[in-house]
Protein backbone atom coordinates (compact mmCIF):
# COMPACT_ATOMS: atom_id res chain seq x y z
CA UNK A 1 0.00 0.00 0.00
CA UNK A 2 1.10 3.51 -0.71
CA UNK A 3 1.95 5.93 2.07
CA UNK A 4 2.42 9.69 2.01
CA UNK A 5 4.50 11.50 4.62
CA UNK A 6 4.54 15.21 5.37
CA UNK A 7 7.18 15.71 8.04
CA UNK A 8 6.48 19.39 8.71
CA UNK A 9 3.34 19.85 10.84
CA UNK A 10 3.73 23.65 10.69
CA UNK A 11 5.64 26.15 8.62
CA UNK A 12 5.82 29.91 8.68
CA UNK A 13 6.78 32.36 5.94
CA UNK A 14 6.86 36.11 5.67
CA UNK A 15 4.75 37.80 3.09
CA UNK A 16 6.51 38.04 -0.30
CA UNK A 17 9.04 35.38 0.66
CA UNK A 18 9.37 31.82 -0.63
CA UNK A 19 8.58 28.66 1.29
CA UNK A 20 8.94 24.96 0.46
CA UNK A 21 6.69 22.26 1.87
CA UNK A 22 8.03 18.72 1.91
CA UNK A 23 6.32 15.50 0.92
CA UNK A 24 7.66 12.00 0.50
CA UNK A 25 5.80 8.89 -0.54
CA UNK A 26 6.31 5.19 -0.75
CA UNK A 27 5.13 3.12 -3.69
CA UNK A 28 6.12 0.16 -5.80
CA UNK A 29 4.35 1.53 -8.86
CA UNK A 30 6.26 3.21 -11.65
CA UNK A 31 3.43 5.39 -12.91
CA UNK A 32 1.18 7.44 -10.69
CA UNK A 33 -0.12 10.93 -10.00
CA UNK A 34 0.70 13.37 -7.23
CA UNK A 35 -1.32 16.34 -6.04
CA UNK A 36 -1.11 19.22 -3.62
CA UNK A 37 -4.36 20.39 -2.09
CA UNK A 38 -4.92 23.52 -0.01
CA UNK A 39 -7.46 23.72 2.80
CA UNK A 40 -8.04 27.29 4.06
CA UNK A 41 -9.94 28.00 7.29
CA UNK A 42 -13.19 27.66 5.33
CA UNK A 43 -12.28 23.94 5.12
CA UNK A 44 -12.76 23.69 1.36
CA UNK A 45 -10.25 21.38 -0.32
CA UNK A 46 -8.78 23.21 -3.28
CA UNK A 47 -6.49 21.64 -5.85
CA UNK A 48 -3.23 23.58 -6.09
CA UNK A 49 -1.11 21.60 -8.51
CA UNK A 50 -0.65 18.10 -9.92
CA UNK A 51 2.20 16.08 -11.37
CA UNK A 52 2.22 12.97 -13.54
CA UNK A 53 5.07 10.67 -12.58
CA UNK A 54 5.94 9.92 -16.20
CA UNK A 55 6.67 13.60 -16.84
CA UNK A 56 10.16 14.72 -15.96
CA UNK A 57 9.26 18.39 -16.11
CA UNK A 58 8.17 19.87 -12.81
CA UNK A 59 4.62 21.24 -12.79
CA UNK A 60 4.07 24.97 -12.32
CA UNK A 61 0.92 26.98 -11.63
CA UNK A 62 1.61 30.69 -11.28
CA UNK A 63 3.37 31.15 -7.91
CA UNK A 64 3.20 27.44 -7.12
CA UNK A 65 5.73 24.92 -8.39
CA UNK A 66 6.88 21.47 -7.45
CA UNK A 67 10.23 19.77 -7.17
CA UNK A 68 9.50 16.19 -8.22
CA UNK A 69 12.32 13.76 -7.55
CA UNK A 70 11.06 10.38 -8.67
CA UNK A 71 14.05 8.33 -7.58
CA UNK A 72 13.93 9.87 -4.12
CA UNK A 73 10.10 9.65 -4.05
CA UNK A 74 9.95 13.28 -3.08
CA UNK A 75 7.35 15.84 -4.14
CA UNK A 76 7.86 19.23 -2.53
CA UNK A 77 5.75 22.34 -3.10
CA UNK A 78 7.35 25.74 -3.50
CA UNK A 79 5.27 28.86 -2.96
CA UNK A 80 6.89 32.03 -4.27
CA UNK A 81 5.94 35.59 -3.34
CA UNK A 82 3.80 34.30 -0.46
CA UNK A 83 0.53 36.10 0.18
CA UNK A 84 -1.69 36.26 3.25
CA UNK A 85 -4.28 34.23 1.35
CA UNK A 86 -1.83 31.34 1.10
CA UNK A 87 -2.27 30.63 4.81
CA UNK A 88 -3.89 27.20 4.99
CA UNK A 89 -3.34 23.50 5.56
CA UNK A 90 -1.57 21.91 2.63
CA UNK A 91 -2.02 18.24 1.85
CA UNK A 92 0.09 16.10 -0.42
CA UNK A 93 -1.78 13.24 -2.09
CA UNK A 94 -0.93 10.18 -4.19
CA UNK A 95 -3.12 8.47 -6.77
CA UNK A 96 -2.53 5.14 -8.47
CA UNK A 97 -2.67 5.08 -12.29
CA UNK A 98 -5.41 2.44 -12.41
CA UNK A 99 -8.99 3.57 -12.83
CA UNK A 100 -12.10 2.31 -11.09
CA UNK A 101 -11.63 1.06 -7.56
CA UNK A 102 -7.93 1.92 -7.50
CA UNK A 103 -8.41 5.60 -8.23
CA UNK A 104 -8.34 6.58 -4.58
CA UNK A 105 -6.26 9.32 -3.08
CA UNK A 106 -3.86 8.66 -0.24
CA UNK A 107 -3.26 11.84 1.76
CA UNK A 108 -0.44 12.98 3.97
CA UNK A 109 -1.22 14.40 7.40
CA UNK A 110 -0.83 17.98 6.21
CA UNK A 111 1.35 21.02 6.84
CA UNK A 112 -0.14 24.15 8.36
CA UNK A 113 1.31 27.22 6.67
CA UNK A 114 1.25 30.57 8.44
CA UNK A 115 1.97 33.75 6.50
CA UNK A 116 3.21 36.71 8.54
CA UNK A 117 3.52 40.38 7.70
Amino acid sequence: AQTVTQSQPEMSVQEAETVTLSCTYDTSESDYYLFWYKQPPSRQMILVIRQEAYKQQNATENRFSVNFQKAAKSFSLKISDSQLGDAAMYFCAYRSPAGGTASKLTFGTGTRLQVTL
Binding site: I46, S103, G110
Partner: protein, 113 residues
Protein backbone atom coordinates in the same frame (compact mmCIF):
# COMPACT_ATOMS: atom_id res chain seq x y z
CA UNK B 1 -18.94 22.72 -15.93
CA UNK B 2 -19.13 20.22 -13.12
CA UNK B 3 -20.23 21.14 -9.63
CA UNK B 4 -20.56 19.22 -6.40
CA UNK B 5 -23.06 20.03 -3.69
CA UNK B 6 -22.95 18.75 -0.16
CA UNK B 7 -25.39 19.39 2.66
CA UNK B 8 -26.00 20.29 5.36
CA UNK B 9 -23.00 22.52 6.05
CA UNK B 10 -23.22 22.01 9.80
CA UNK B 11 -25.12 19.54 11.92
CA UNK B 12 -25.45 19.00 15.65
CA UNK B 13 -26.92 15.66 16.64
CA UNK B 14 -27.39 13.80 19.94
CA UNK B 15 -25.71 10.47 20.55
CA UNK B 16 -27.86 7.62 19.29
CA UNK B 17 -29.68 9.65 16.65
CA UNK B 18 -29.63 8.78 12.93
CA UNK B 19 -27.60 10.58 10.28
CA UNK B 20 -28.02 11.34 6.62
CA UNK B 21 -25.56 13.48 4.67
CA UNK B 22 -26.14 14.01 1.00
CA UNK B 23 -23.83 14.78 -1.89
CA UNK B 24 -24.77 15.38 -5.52
CA UNK B 25 -22.70 16.08 -8.59
CA UNK B 26 -23.84 18.00 -11.64
CA UNK B 27 -22.45 18.28 -15.13
CA UNK B 28 -20.95 14.84 -15.47
CA UNK B 29 -22.03 11.20 -15.66
CA UNK B 30 -20.74 8.03 -14.03
CA UNK B 31 -18.36 9.80 -11.66
CA UNK B 32 -16.35 8.07 -8.99
CA UNK B 33 -17.66 9.29 -5.64
CA UNK B 34 -15.93 9.41 -2.26
CA UNK B 35 -16.71 10.14 1.39
CA UNK B 36 -13.88 11.31 3.65
CA UNK B 37 -13.72 12.18 7.32
CA UNK B 38 -11.31 14.68 8.78
CA UNK B 39 -10.79 14.79 12.53
CA UNK B 40 -9.74 18.13 14.02
CA UNK B 41 -6.18 19.03 12.92
CA UNK B 42 -5.75 15.77 11.07
CA UNK B 43 -5.58 14.51 7.51
CA UNK B 44 -8.35 12.96 5.47
CA UNK B 45 -9.46 9.40 6.00
CA UNK B 46 -11.29 7.71 3.14
CA UNK B 47 -14.50 6.11 4.40
CA UNK B 48 -16.32 4.92 1.28
CA UNK B 49 -16.02 5.11 -2.46
CA UNK B 50 -18.28 4.18 -5.31
CA UNK B 51 -17.63 3.55 -9.00
CA UNK B 52 -21.29 3.16 -9.97
CA UNK B 53 -24.91 2.97 -8.83
CA UNK B 54 -25.30 0.53 -5.97
CA UNK B 55 -21.54 -0.16 -5.85
CA UNK B 56 -20.06 0.80 -2.50
CA UNK B 57 -16.64 -0.04 -1.12
CA UNK B 58 -15.82 0.52 2.54
CA UNK B 59 -12.31 1.40 3.58
CA UNK B 60 -12.63 1.09 7.34
CA UNK B 61 -15.09 -0.70 9.62
CA UNK B 62 -17.27 1.82 11.38
CA UNK B 63 -20.65 2.93 12.50
CA UNK B 64 -21.43 4.49 9.14
CA UNK B 65 -22.78 3.28 5.81
CA UNK B 66 -23.01 4.74 2.33
CA UNK B 67 -25.43 4.37 -0.56
CA UNK B 68 -25.57 5.49 -4.16
CA UNK B 69 -29.20 5.38 -5.25
CA UNK B 70 -28.59 7.44 -8.39
CA UNK B 71 -25.62 8.00 -10.66
CA UNK B 72 -24.71 11.38 -9.21
CA UNK B 73 -26.00 11.02 -5.66
CA UNK B 74 -23.99 9.70 -2.73
CA UNK B 75 -25.41 9.43 0.78
CA UNK B 76 -23.62 8.87 4.08
CA UNK B 77 -25.78 7.39 6.84
CA UNK B 78 -25.82 6.06 10.33
CA UNK B 79 -28.60 4.42 12.34
CA UNK B 80 -27.13 5.46 15.71
CA UNK B 81 -24.44 8.10 16.02
CA UNK B 82 -21.54 7.75 18.43
CA UNK B 83 -19.47 10.52 19.99
CA UNK B 84 -16.54 9.33 17.90
CA UNK B 85 -18.47 10.12 14.71
CA UNK B 86 -17.86 13.83 15.26
CA UNK B 87 -15.74 15.44 12.58
CA UNK B 88 -15.67 17.15 9.26
CA UNK B 89 -17.06 15.09 6.38
CA UNK B 90 -16.10 15.74 2.80
CA UNK B 91 -17.61 14.37 -0.36
CA UNK B 92 -15.52 14.26 -3.54
CA UNK B 93 -15.88 13.17 -7.15
CA UNK B 94 -13.54 12.39 -9.99
CA UNK B 95 -13.81 11.07 -13.53
CA UNK B 96 -13.04 7.41 -13.84
CA UNK B 97 -9.80 8.03 -15.73
CA UNK B 98 -7.13 8.48 -13.16
CA UNK B 99 -5.09 11.41 -14.39
CA UNK B 100 -7.77 13.77 -13.17
CA UNK B 101 -7.84 15.04 -9.59
CA UNK B 102 -10.67 14.66 -7.15
CA UNK B 103 -12.90 17.66 -6.60
CA UNK B 104 -14.34 18.26 -3.18
CA UNK B 105 -17.59 19.60 -1.80
CA UNK B 106 -17.64 22.26 0.89
CA UNK B 107 -17.93 19.72 3.71
CA UNK B 108 -20.23 19.08 6.65
CA UNK B 109 -19.16 19.82 10.20
CA UNK B 110 -20.83 17.18 12.39
CA UNK B 111 -20.93 17.62 16.16
CA UNK B 112 -22.27 14.88 18.38
CA UNK B 113 -23.54 15.85 21.81
Amino acid sequence: SQTIHQWPATLVQPVGSPLSLECTVEGTSNPNLYWYRQAAGRGLQLLFYSVGIGQISSEVPQNLSASRPQDRQFILSSKKLLLSDSGFYLCAWSPDYSNQPQHFGDGTRLSIL
